[in-house]
């Protein structure tokens, strides 16, 4: 840390004198202490909020360009089929010969929702008419859509379509992988068995989670503004402004450099819009190319469910043992990840916990369903539900406080301190001492309350990719430009805050310009890496802008360039002060334009969190109500507290959805999704929202930016499942935990007691 002495003017008894002040300047390699920021790490409203609350924020769904046609897709109604014939005559009569496209006769369709044809029309209604007028004959081929069926030796083979990233083998089950991720195998299944034989408590369980859906409120969509010629603009609802350019250029047969991508606002991604233009983009580009007219393609809600990717399900078989002193000693697991036609990732068990002897194996289980894509912490909430349930089951068998059991078995590494601290903090917030010492024993009426907890881990580190430009004009206006996108996570908020703080300005003084590929490069938002990648680059650009301003303004102040202070919308030094506008008036006509890039020392890696839940179970109806949730999350330096709290709330609420409501339901015989609608695939609504306590872990000493959107989504599922057990004594190992499972469990418990 460098302390600088700067002469600033001070008025005493009407006389201006120069006084020396000591200023800490951390340069561009350090953020300085987390508690010494003026705007960063404070509760700033997001600058894009006024546009969003007044309906003026422009989403891809809202874009309409001159001459634009409305595109619609026809998708496969079968899980597995070949196209026998396609008759486009009637459709072409409605919208014209060139406005209808279809796949080739004979093509194989691998899932319900595989693209078959697309049309473009002057109105959405006409496009619907044209889609309905397309006549397709299919030849059905045997399919498999249930994990259990896919694991049978005689399961129909699931062959992958060209371009799918996975490498499936014949049959529902792909080649196995052992020892991936955190649960690196230190033993064989036989070695684990030998240790288990000596354990004081052993749990053998199978945990299951269904295939999930992102349910972004804005469905996958694109507007391809192409009118012939060699250039185009694409408006895409995407997590990566730059991610679809190559694909669009290829489909339109134009140079990549001639494609501009715009994503001003986007209505939710959660992993499903990771940079590709997707099916909607490919077909919109093809129609646009053929017609030399702009085409807008928007997935309808049903199509969004069956054709835009899912979050993988899981079947996790686990056997684990612990000793009376509370030490987890051996874990053996086989985890099948259900990713449709795509091999999906799942975090290895025992997730973040440590055990001496571990065997861990992850296997894909392929079915005739759309390809899984990342869903908020891909494969982590699934594995975490298993590990946190398992830990609770072992603690119960050993009659140990589940919280103490977790503390004891958290890995002995740098993360350990964080979890110990977060578990204590969360326990205090939820009132952990109120839990039932004997699960289900407390209460006389039908409503039984219980508490549960869990911990989770994530990376959230930064990558070197972003290029940020800060422009300062003669009139004092400041813009920070970068092509990055804001998914609602608060990207705009911290860009503005970082620049304003560095230049001694306020939030309204800076304008951030993002979501446009003509601005500087930026990575797509995935893995909670955006803040840790972009934040440092913004800081670097803002710092460079400050240095450049100092150099320009110092002569006016009669100060050395490194003895200039930017504070309170003033530029001070040499005993003088200029208002920001006065200082900028001295700039050349074009103003100044300064770039910044990723600075590794400003970003960190490794996020930790702990979730707690209080639930109420009605033992007469099986109805579950979450009363309160607490999530403690570290993020190094929190860039923006209000939006971070929103993210933590969102994580808790999505994990509640996964725990209690959500799951794709497939019809095994028909091979189709039974609940492809928001009134059938249940997501949390206003009436289910518990009291939420989002806690930012300010005791995290790291002065670096770490992403935290995904980790907030990880341990809540296990915490709720464990709270349900604590409330009523029913351990449900298959998500979602619906009332019927509670009632079955209560009956089974009663039968056991006799």
């Amino acid at each position: 840390m460098a302390t600088k002495t700067i002469k600033i003017p001070k008025v005493v008894n009407g006389v201006t004198t120069a006084v020396d002040v000591q200023v800490e300047d951390y340069g561009n390699a350090s953020w300085g202490p987390n508690n010494k920021h003026r705007l960063i790490n404070s509760r700033m409203p997001r600058p894009d909020a006024p546009a969003k609350t007044t309906g003026t924020a422009m989403y891809t769904h809202d874009v309409r360009v001159p001459g634009m046609l409305f595109g619609k897709m026809l998708l496969s109604p079968y899980a597995h089929a070949t196209v026998k014939s396609i008759d486009l005559t009637a459709a072409k009569k409605i919208v014209g010969d060139k406005a209808v496209m279809a796949i080739a006769v004979g093509a194989e369709l691998h899932y319900e929702g595989a693209p078959v044809a697309a049309v473009a029309a002057a109105t959405p209604e006409l496009a619907d008419d044209a889609v309905r007028a397309i006549k397709v004959e299919y030849t059905q081929v045997p399919h498999v859509v249930k994990g259990d069926d896919a694991l049978k030796p005689d399961a129909p083979p699931v062959s992958l379509p060209a371009g799918a990233a996975g490498r499936g083998t014949g049959g529902g089950m792909g080649a196995g992988r052992a020892g991936r991720g955190g649960g690196t195998s230190q033993g064989t299944p036989e070695q684990v068995e030998a240790v288990l034989a000596t354990c004081d408590a052993v749990v053998e369980a199978e945990y299951r989670t269904p295939i999930l859906h992102h349910c972004c409120m804005e469905t996958h969509s694109i507007v391809v503004d192409y009118n012939g010629g060699d250039s185009a603009t694409i408006y895409c609802s995407t997590q990566g402004t730059f991610g679809g350019i190559a694909e669009a250029a290829r489909e339109l047969s134009i140079p990549q450099g001639n494609v501009t991508a715009i994503v001003q606002h986007m209505g939710g991604g959660f992993g499903s819009k990771g940079g590709s233009i997707g099916i909607v983009g490919q077909w919109a580009c093809r129609l646009s190319k053929q017609l030399s007219r702009p085409v807008k393609m928007v997935m309808d809600r049903r199509q969004e469910f069956i054709a835009t990717g899912n979050g993988p399900g899981s079947i996790q078989k686990v056997k684990a043992g612990a000793n009376k002193d509370g030490t987890l000693v051996a874990v053996s697991s086989t985890q099948y990840s259900l990713g449709g036609i795509q091999r999906a990732n799942i975090a290895a068990l025992p997730y973040q916990y440590a055990a001496k002897t571990v065997y861990s194996q992850q296997l894909p289980c392929l079915t005739n369903e759309d390809a899984s894509v990342p869903l908020r912490a891909p494969g982590h909430p699934q594995a975490n539900f298993a590990s946190e349930s398992l830990m609770d089951e072992l603690a119960f068998k050993l009659n140990i406080d589940p919280l103490e059991f977790r503390k004891k078995n958290a890995p002995r590494n740098g993360m350990n301190v964080a979890w110990q601290r977060q578990l204590d903090r969360g326990a205090k917030e939820i009132g952990w001492e109120r839990r039932n010492m004997v699960p289900g024993a407390v209460g006389t009426g039908p409503l039984r309350r219980g508490l549960g907890c869990g911990i989770g881990a994530w990376g959230g580190g930064g990558r070197a990719q972003c290029v940020v430009t800060v422009d300062i004009k003669q009139d004092g206006s400041v813009t920070a430009s970068v092509g990055s996108q804001d998914l609602g996570t608060g990207t705009r908020t911290y860009i503005r805050a970082i620049v304003a703080e560095e230049l001694g300005l306020e939030m309204p003084d800076v304008l951030e310009r993002i979501g446009n590929s003509t601005y500087g490069n930026a990575n797509s938002s995935g893995g909670s890496t955006t803040a840790a990648s972009l934040g440092p680059a913004v800081k670097d650009a803002a710092y460079n802008a400050r240095i450049e301003m100092s150099r320009r303004v110092a002569p006016l102040l009669g100060a050395e360039a490194d003895a200039v202070l930017f504070d309170g919308r003033q530029v001070m030094g040499g005993g003088k002060a200029l208002s920001w506008k006065q200082a900028c008036a001295a700039l050349p006509a074009a103003g100044i334009s300064v770039k910044g890039q990723f600075v590794a020392s400003l970003s960190g890696n490794g996020a930790h969190g702990a979730s707690f839940a209080e639930v109420e179970v009605d033992i007469e109806t099986g109805h579950i109500r979450v009363i309160k949730m607490v999530h403690v999350q570290d993020a190094g330096l929190p860039l923006s507290r209000l939006t971070m709290e929103s993210q933590i709330n969102g994580g808790m609420i999505q994990s509640m959805g996964m725990a209690l409501f959500e799951g794709r339901v497939m019809d095994a015989d028909l091979g189709v999704m039974v609940n492809p609608a928001l009134n059938e695939y249940k997501i949390p609504g206003t009436l289910e929202i518990p009291e939420t306590v989002p806690v930012i872990d300010d005791e995290d000493p790291r002065q670096v930016v770490i992403g935290c959107a995904e980790p907030a989504n990880i341990p809540g599922v296990g915490a709720i499942a464990n709270a349900i057990f604590n409330a009523c004594g029913v351990r449900v190992r298959e998500l979602p935990i619906t009332p019927d499972k509670i009632l079955s469990g209560l009956m089974a418990n009663a039968a056991k007691k006799g």
Binding site: G55, Y59, G67, A122, C216, M217, G268, R301
Partner: protein
């Protein structure tokens, strides 16, 4: 609809193509007359807030010009009978009114919520022709970024949104709630917007915003 094609393969306008597919009304002249008659019935029904059986008996087809009263202004728009109110606002009005969003198009998510004659309704579940003669208020009508309504300002202050796609619907539902119940409890706020989904999970902050807005003038529009 800006821009029409010179390509004969592409329908020149919604009007022409609509006719060719249906034979209820033939010829442009007849259509204009029929449309007028139908419109009168529709307007009459709307004004009386009842259904005129004659209007129901007569098939309405093709594209017809109607006038929608959107945020206090009469707006001319050409629609098909099956065109939903939200599609008329978003896809057909020019300039478009895109505050109300389409999240599900089947009356579940609430992103399309508008206030119709004082009541919050799903814009995707009302036909545009059924909104003729009624007062349609959308989120744009409550305030502007420079002059926000109490609900909009409270949403900003409390961060009652993340991606923001559901926000128009929530602002509209909360505004409608506060106009009928100026001092709601938390549970009443939850019930008042139970027809709206937010996938980002902004609920706790937007509940706070609704309660804050109630203290700051409730369902008023921007001053």
């Amino acid at each position: 609809m800006p821009g029409t094609s010179n390509d004969p393969a592409i329908p020149k306008s919604p009007v022409n193509s609509g006719w060719s597919r249906r034979n209820f009304l033939k010829g442009v002249g007849a259509a204009a007359i029929a449309a007028d008659t139908i419109l009168q019935r529709v307007e009459k029904s709307a004004a009386a807030d009842t259904v005129d059986p004659a209007a129901v008996d007569t098939p309405i087809s093709g594209s017809i010009p109607i006038t929608l009263n959107v945020n206090g202004r009469p707006r001319q728009v050409t629609v098909e009978p099956r065109t939903t109110l939200v599609s008329a606002l978003r896809d057909r009005l020019d300039p478009a009114v895109t505050g109300p969003k389409v999240g599900c198009n089947m009356g579940t998510c609430g992103a399309c919520t508008v206030i119709l004659n004082g009541k919050p309704v799903y814009g995707c579940s009302i036909l545009a022709i059924d909104a003729v003669g009624k007062q349609i208020s959308t989120v744009e009508g409550f305030g502007t970024p420079e002059n926000m309504s109490p609900v909009q300002a409270a949403m900003v202050e409390k961060d009652g949104m993340m991606c923001g796609f559901c926000t128009s619907g929530f602002v509209t539902s909360i505004t409608a709630l506060l106009r009928t119940n100026p001092n709601p409890t938390l549970d009443q706020v939850k019930a008042g917007c139970k027809g709206n989904f937010c996938r980002c999970g902004s609920y706790p902050h937007l509940f706070e915003a609704a309660l804050t807005a109630a203290k700051n003038g409730g369902g008023r529009t921007g001053t």
